[in-house]
Symmetry: C2
Subunit: 458 residues, 2 copies
């Protein structure tokens, strides 16, 4: 028989602290939260009372210490408080970390989310690979854990709005600007979640990746640098110089391969065998998906009233994480994918009911040329409400609008969400009529200005 608090939380689909532990710990966690709330409120809005933080800090410390010594096992941070590590003022982060030096145990986290979204959790085997999973590869728990894990290493990116663009779109648009993210794209979220989830022994041997994407390589190199471990980045000989430069700037070790996928994969395998490095997949991995899902947690914290989110789709890592998090928080949120016409494998896959891979792709959106994987496909199949396909002209027009009106330097893949929002296909759909406040994930901004110019005015 659930107690009152548990029922209340289930009704409202909100986290419950430490359901599985004794009432004492529950009320302790609630006390901690109340104290934190109070300190946060005071420190943030009352300069006059800021000095009193130290007083709260002392009281808090004595409560924490006595509570911790009363317990035999080291205290676990309630999962729902982990989010504060990211969003709270410094004082609260310090308090939280002092109180809960260890990450949350799985048994202490419990969320009342729709059962259909509670995928079975995959786990890394000895090779550091995610094991195969049943259900979905990630869920709201793994995404919240990712948020807590990566908070020290990523930016909380701002949400921008433009009345001028809203007038054109006929809806309120909220641009989640991951182009301002570290290494210029959302990719660092998944990469740092994957890399910081490794245990010390696995991590010490380094990581390897052979992604063709613009960002993934730089993101893995940067996340590995942040953890202080080697990153072996397999790059085809015909890769653009700026990509190689980015990888080197973040301390990645460049390993050359031929331009074809076979060469890249076989060289990555050889690096794994020789060094024991862990392969980091750019999208088809539980930890990557969970990391990318933090974009949507953040967005819905920043603009809770959003009813629709438009997400670029390529391998499906970003949209899987975004959909799993958003639909767990609010099952009625509409998730729309934006895909370039010249690489519309996801739209074709949705129509066919199975993964379709294309022989060739042809689009200006160089970040959107990958195909769905076996872990991302089920999420796209089940939780993505529709896929809006736009052509390159529409992407270029949206890019111009981003530069000239939103004042944000985006790459083509980053502008495709706006292109979809402005498309006739969307405006003629029932989704358009039912949408009011639309989140647009601006996925990245890594673009060479000369290349940009050529694409805008060729």
């Amino acid at each position: 028989m659930p107690d009152r608090n548990t029922r209340e939380a289930q009704e409202h689909r909100l986290p419950v602290a430490c359901q599985t532990t004794a009432g004492q710990q529950h009320s302790e966690a609630l006390l901690v939260q109340l104290l934190l709330d109070f300190v946060l409120g005071l420190s943030r809005f009352s300069p006059l009372l800021k000095k009193r933080e130290s007083l709260f800090s002392e009281r808090f410390h004595s409560i924490s210490t006595s509570a911790a010594s009363a317990s035999k096992s080291p205290p676990q941070c309630p999962t729902h408080l982990q989010g504060l590590r990211d969003s709270a003022p410094l004082i609260a982060q310090i308090l939280l970390r002092a109180r809960f030096p260890h990450p949350p145990s799985k048994s202490s986290s419990s969320f009342a989310v729709p059962l259909s979204l509670c995928g079975l959790m995959g786990s890394r085997d000895d090779d550091g690979q995610s094991t195969e999973v049943q259900g979905y590869a990630a869920d709201i728990n793994s995404i919240r854990e990712a948020q807590a894990r990566i908070a020290p290493y990523v930016h909380k990116t701002p949400v921008l709005t433009s009345t001028s663009i809203d007038t054109v779109a006929g809806k309120q648009l909220f641009f989640k600007c991951e182009c301002f993210q570290k290494a210029g794209a959302f990719k660092i979220r998944g990469a740092s979640n994957s890399i910081f989830a490794l245990d010390d022994d696995q991590a010490s041997k380094g990581v390897v990746t052979h992604s063709s994407g613009n960002h993934a390589a730089a993101a893995v190199a940067l996340a590995a640098k942040l953890r202080g471990i080697p990153a072996y980045i397999v790059i085809p000989k015909n890769a653009p110089a700026c990509k190689v430069e980015n990888v080197k700037r973040y301390g990645g070790r460049v390993i050359w391969s031929e331009a074809n996928m076979e060469s890249r994969e076989s060289i990555a395998r050889r690096v794994q065998e020789e060094t024991g490095a862990v392969l980091i997949h750019p999208f088809n991995d539980k930890y990557t998906i969970s990391g990318q899902g933090t974009v949507s947690l953040e967005l819905l914290e920043q603009v809770p009233e959003i009813d629709t989110i438009i997400v670029p789709i390529s391998g499906g890592g970003l949209i899987s994480g975004v959909a799993l998090a958003a639909k767990a928080i609010n099952p009625s949120i509409r998730i729309l994918a934006a895909e370039p016409k010249g690489a519309d494998d996801s739209a074709q896959s949705k129509a066919a009911g199975r993964i379709i891979k294309l022989a060739t792709t042809d689009t200006i959106a160089d970040g959107l040329r990958a195909f769905l994987g076996d872990l991302t496909w089920p999420v796209v199949r089940d939780l993505v409400d529709d896929i809006i396909v736009v052509d390159d002209n529409a992407i270029v027009e949206a890019m111009k609008m981003c530069y000239e009106t939103l004042k944000v330097a985006v790459e083509p893949s980053g502008a495709i969400g706006l292109a979809a929002a402005l498309s006739d296909e969307f405006k003629q759909s029932s989704a358009w009529h039912e949408s009011s406040k639309i989140g647009i994930i601006v996925s990245g901004g890594n673009v060479d200005l000369r290349v940009l110019w050529d694409s805008l005015y060729k």
Copy 2:
């Protein structure tokens, strides 16, 4: 003999609620603030407890109502709470506005700021012009009033950081992105403060401006549109089409003039005489300076540990407001101006000890070609610690860095702060050695992409 709270506030240079009123109102304001803090803390960080907002709201309302009915005059919002209208969650804004429908009275605001910064306040005479003032044209009070006045009409712009740029700069840089402001630049702050400070009678006749600047005209048109009054924008026949388009987009009425200043001024005077419209000056005005100063209030709320702010200088409205607010909050903050070599009248003025105007200007930074006015010069003379002069090549290099690394679409004037931060002149100064966390005001982002390209790769 000041009471304890007053002394404590003076010691820490923080606002004191209602010093001039009775103790009853003082403690009531403190109670309000405590309640607000609590509600804010709860609503922001405790989803589980969010539902209880309504409870707080009810209790708050009954306290407010009884306190208001006990008082004979309508309740005045304490000035220090006004800031919350901008930064607080919606619930708190609603509570504040329900509780204090009237703007703060001058007698109820009192701040313990350095006496030297408490300039005598100018006031509009019957023509709507600011009267001449002794001391400085604005101060922390007028800037806080501006913040409260314009909060509903402007964006709170984000602060971006880049580890890559910090590595190049050798300092931590915090970019205050006014390019994301409404109408693409900080100018809307001053324009909306000027226009919303007009009484209904003055406002009904409309406003007129003849600024040559890219933004000022659009900002005045937009602010007038927001207030629902006519805006007459005098524009020289040779103005670029995009400027005219911007003005028309915001509903401004374009009045053509010849290209010279005499024609613009005489036509603006004629519009004033014929319509009774109030002239809005782009920088040399108390209300404009106060509005621009809100940039620095916001920045120091967002990053309180900043020790140096670099600000583009032209007519001096922005840097005057920024300096007056920042030095009132923290007298040890260093204010540095960034000025293009081809329009270095401010640097020459500082050296000469009087306003110097140039016969011609030649710089890519088209927003920085104006000269100081009699209201901005005293602030620049006394409170701007140094002026860093940079050439156009440095501005272009900084622009590229903004696009490629910061992912922000800036105009040349917006990039000059970064150019100054990276300049040899700055790096060889004592200011560089004494600076650690540097705020950079990215003033605007209104640029035609084709013009940008020409300037980057001509």
